[in-house]
Structure formats: structure tokens, C-alpha cells
Symmetry: C2
Subunit: 187 residues, 2 copies
């Protein structure tokens, strides 16, 4: 099941994206090298260009993949806002490479229509979950504000977790820690 021999790779596009996830997981998106990905996939240094044009093209594809993964993850988490928030953090930790690229628009073509569409899909799910939240303190809440606050707290927690900025006492279980923090907002 490894038809990588022969002139044609067979599934180079996917192989390069997988290699990119692996490489970014090791050293971050800044250190990503197209030639390294080519070596990992066993092809020549110019092969990636055909599928993605340039480095930004590859990262654009990765961002699209990431937003779609995120949309699916949020959908699977169910209707509960707290559960969606925990799933958001869990996504960032488990798909760290995707997450780190997605929210670094200077690395890819953020205005690409495919990216915008995928990003809108993920944002739509998040908004749905927030809309399901009961109005706070007897209906005085501003749904726009609630949505932003929810997004900010989960995104901030995920970002700080990935950056290794959180103090050790937070623990090493992102889902549990996230639930604890988010509950401060939605309790």
C-alpha cells in the first residue's frame, strides 16, 4: 500500500500535506521547508511546486483542511456550548499544526475563496452553539458579545496552552483544564 516507487508518486499532494503536519509539529510553521517535505515524501525538491505553486499555496491548503477539521470537530461535540469550547481547545492541541497555521494569515493566502468558505463553515458552527446559550442573567445579555467572549476565552486558552505559557499547576490535561476555565464564563 505504498506505491511511492516509480516516476509518479500517486498521492503526492496528500503525502506533502501529511509531511507538513509532521514537520510543523516538530519545529513550527516558521521552520517549514518545502525541500524537507519533498525529502520526506521521497520526491525531488521541485515536485511540491506543481501541486501548490509555492509555500504559501501549501499552507493555504493546510488552512482549508484545518478549518474543515475544526468545523467537523465542533459539530461532533454536540449542542452544548461548554462542550464546543472544550472541543475547540482539544482541536488546537490535537491538530496543533493546522491550528498554528490557520490563525497566522501572513503565512498563507487568507483571502483565498476556499479558505474563506471553510473558515465561514467553522465560524457558523461556533455561532450556532453560542446562540443556543440561554440569555445571561435574565435576558440582559448581548448575543454578539457573548459569542465573542466565548470565542476569545477558548482561543486564548488554546493559544496559551500551545505556547507553553500556562503555569504548571494548570496540569497536563487540556480538556479538563479548559472545561474548568470555560465554566467561569458559562456557569
Amino acid at each position: 500500500m505504498t506505491p511511492t516507487r516509480g516516476y509518479h508518486h500517486g498521492d503526492l499532494r496528500r503525502a506533502l500535506l501529511d509531511a507538513a503536519v509532521e514537520a510543523i509539529g516538530e519545529s513550527g510553521p516558521a521552520a517549514l521547508s518545502l525541500r524537507d517535505l519533498a525529502r520526506r515524501a521521497g520526491v525531488s525538491h521541485a515536485a511540491p511546486a506543481h501541486h501548490f505553486g509555492d509555500k504559501a499555496g501549501l499552507l493555504t491548503a493546510l488552512a482549508v483542511q484545518g478549518f474543515d477539521l475544526l468545523a467537523g470537530t465542533l459539530r461532533d461535540a454536540g449542542d452544548d456550548l461548554l462542550a464546543a469550547g472544550v472541543a475547540y481547545v482539544d482541536f488546537a492541541v490535537r491538530h496543533r499544526a493546522h491550528f498554528e497555521v490557520m490563525f497566522r494569515p501572513e503565512l498563507y493566502r487568507a483571502h483565498d475563496p476556499e479558505v474563506r468558505a471553510a473558515s465561514d463553515r467553522a465560524g457558523g458552527v461556533l455561532r450556532e452553539r453560542v446562540a443556543g446559550l440561554p440569555a445571561r442573567d435574565g435576558g440582559a445579555g448581548d448575543p454578539g458579545r457573548d459569542a465573542l467572549a466565548a470565542w476569545a476565552i477558548v482561543h486564548g486558552f488554546a493559544t496559551l496552552w500551545l505556547a507553553g505559557a500556562l503555569p504548571p499547576r494548570v496540569g497536563d490535561e487540556p480538556r479538563e483544564a479548559a472545561r474548568h476555565v470555560i465554566s467561569r464564563l458559562v456557569e
Copy 2:
């Protein structure tokens, strides 16, 4: 007041850090080039190495500067947690280059003792402000959780703002928008 002529620059270390802030503001930390900084400062391509060793060394110095700037900003914002939160977001927007480096530890030597010290100073101020927050809902609050939630929401908002991920209706005034969102947590 521009003694950049002559063999010795006079204040190259500062000039390089300033140039780095400018360059990162234009294209992000990933696109930073030591040789570009040297050109901006009017020195040879190898001059930066003497002051910072390598690229990570320069970014380490920038991170230290950033954490100290942040600590000062938070201190100046006063005792109020809401004001400190707004100041945090404002810092991220006004010192974007510093902020983007500070929370990307793979770019510099995050374990450098100077970095840790500066980071601790900033974190200490933030914790002080959280400690000043009256216990939530009659004393049932967990101060550790409150601190994390506050940090996460302001950090998340700042990060999303810088990434350009927020919807247009949030407006273009970060301080105002931040105050509105943070008030959801501390009201």
C-alpha cells in the same frame, strides 16, 4: 543626532531591535531577515551576529523588551482588572511585533533566564490585578480559575484581533471592543 557614520555605529544593538520591530510589523516574524535588519541599520550583514549571536538571540532580546514593556503597561493601567485587560489588548495592538514574538517560544530561547524573569514580572502584575477582583457571586470563585479565565479572554481577543479573524462589526477600536467583551467576564 544620527552618528551612524564611521566604522562604529554607536548604538547598533538598539538600532537593530528597532529595525526588527519595524520589519516584523511589515511582514511578521517569520519573514524576518538578519541581513535586512543590517541593511536598514546601514551596517554589514555580519554585524548583528556580534550583538545577538544569531537570529534566535535577537528575538530573545526582543521578547525580554516586550515582557518589560507589557509589565509597565499593565502597571500604568491601575488597579482595576477591566482596565488591565483593556491595556493588555492595547499593548498587543500597539506593540504588535513584540507581542507576536513573545508568545511564539519556538522563535527564541524561551528558557533564557532574562526572558523568564521579564515574563514573571509581567505575569506578576497580571496576577495582582486578578487578586484585586472581588470574589464572584459571594465568594464561591476560584482565584486561580478567575486569573486564567481573565488572561485567556484578553489574550484570545488580542490574538484574534491581530490575526484579523474578528468580524467587521466588532469595529476598529480595539480598546472599546475589548472593554465590551471583557465586561462579560468581570461585570
